[in-house]
């Protein structure tokens, strides 16, 4: 029987070629582009300040007309004007700010005593909002009319 050499062949060259194959480059490019897009969005959005109402009020002059996000709880019954704008007040840590919202209608959950995150800027002493998002706590209670009255009601609320 013939002698057969079964010594493993040197795969170094194959591997180097393989890692640079068009298929490999395409796959890794797609993944890197997707990751780059997500990170770009994250960093762009991270530049928008996220402040509580008390901080936003204290830093009003420094913020100027800079766009930022403000977190607080709605403390007045939202009032819709003829031009479609929505007026309400938000509070956090004992500080309150008047808000005029001119963007899209908020979630159906938006009402008095709701914790919200609003995005916009100071226009004189009023916060002009372009986006209202409703923040939910980590409390989940089964629907019950009696408890509804007490849900999320902050101290000093006029609702």
């Amino acid at each position: 029987m013939a002698e057969v050499d079964l010594t493993p062949e040197d795969r170094t060259e194959t591997v180097r070629k393989g890692s640079r194959s068009p298929r490999n480059i395409l796959i890794m490019s797609v993944i890197c582009l997707a990751l780059g897009f997500v990170l770009f969005q994250a960093l762009t959005n991270a530049r928008i300040f996220f402040l509580n109402v008390d901080e936003a009020v204290a830093q009003q002059s420094e913020l100027g007309d800079k766009r930022f996000r403000m977190q607080g709880t709605v403390t007045t019954v939202p009032d819709t004007k003829d031009d479609g704008s929505l007026f309400f007040a938000v509070a956090f840590n004992g500080e309150q700010a008047d808000v005029r919202h001119i963007g899209d209608a908020p979630s159906a959950l938006f009402e008095c005593n709701t914790p919200v995150v609003i995005e916009g800027r100071w226009i004189e002493n009023t916060f002009e909002s372009e986006l209202i998002t409703v923040k939910h706590s980590e409390e989940y209670e089964e629907a019950n009319e009696e408890r509804l009255e007490e849900a999320y009601k902050p101290v000093g609320s006029s609702c």
């Binding site: 490999n24 908020p106 986006l131 998002t133 980590e138 629907a143």
Partner: protein, 262 residues
Amino acid sequence: MTDTKLEIGHELSSGGLTTTGTGSKVTKVLGVAALVAIGLQLLFGLYYSGPEVVQGEAVRLFYVHVPSVLTAYLGFGITLVASIIYLRKGSQFWDLVAGSAAEIAVLFCAFTLFTGAVWGKPTWGVYWQWDPRLTSTTVMFVMYLGYLAVRRLDLEPRVRSRRAAVLGIVSFLNVIIVHYSVDWWRGLHQQATFGVDTKLDGLMLFSFFLGLVAFTVVFAWLLIHRFRVSWLEHQLRLARLDEALVERRAEGTIDGTTGAIS
């Protein structure tokens, strides 16, 4: 694989094996348990539990959203452990376990992102926002897609497995970032579900745990099947290699040469 590694593998797929397919007695029992658990999850999630005081019916998404992300964490955790063991021992078994767990975890991560977006619209008012929790979860999803992509690169198998194992370990940092993102940065997303302020009414808590149990059993069942598919793929590669060797031997004999076969 050595005999020792095969024994470890036997634990994963203990029970009788069918001659075709990836089923066995163990998977049949797990499969029935998974179906029953999913049936109960649907019954409690959609029927027995009531609407929430603020969110209304939308709270039902909680029973699939949070169990999905916890199941994804479990899968990524298995990938981490299996990758570390692979790098230490170089066993094919752990490489296949790591890849199988990651694939299923990515599926559950996709469920998390989708149900989160669908839940966000009726509650937050938007499907999506580049909030720290949402962004870090998306980064985690894309990085593990990258991990799965590395496993499919045209490379020498051992090089590919080593690179995948390193990525499988590094990517787990995302799980930590995702989990603590709500504490480290301000955002729209609520705090961790089981933090100090968490409150879940009786049947809601039960429905959530039912969802978690159901998804964990489904994960275990899928992991065994996915591992066996990977194992069969590995066996098929070896079989083809053996065939090629036999052909090369045959060529050498027929030629009657005494030199090496190139």
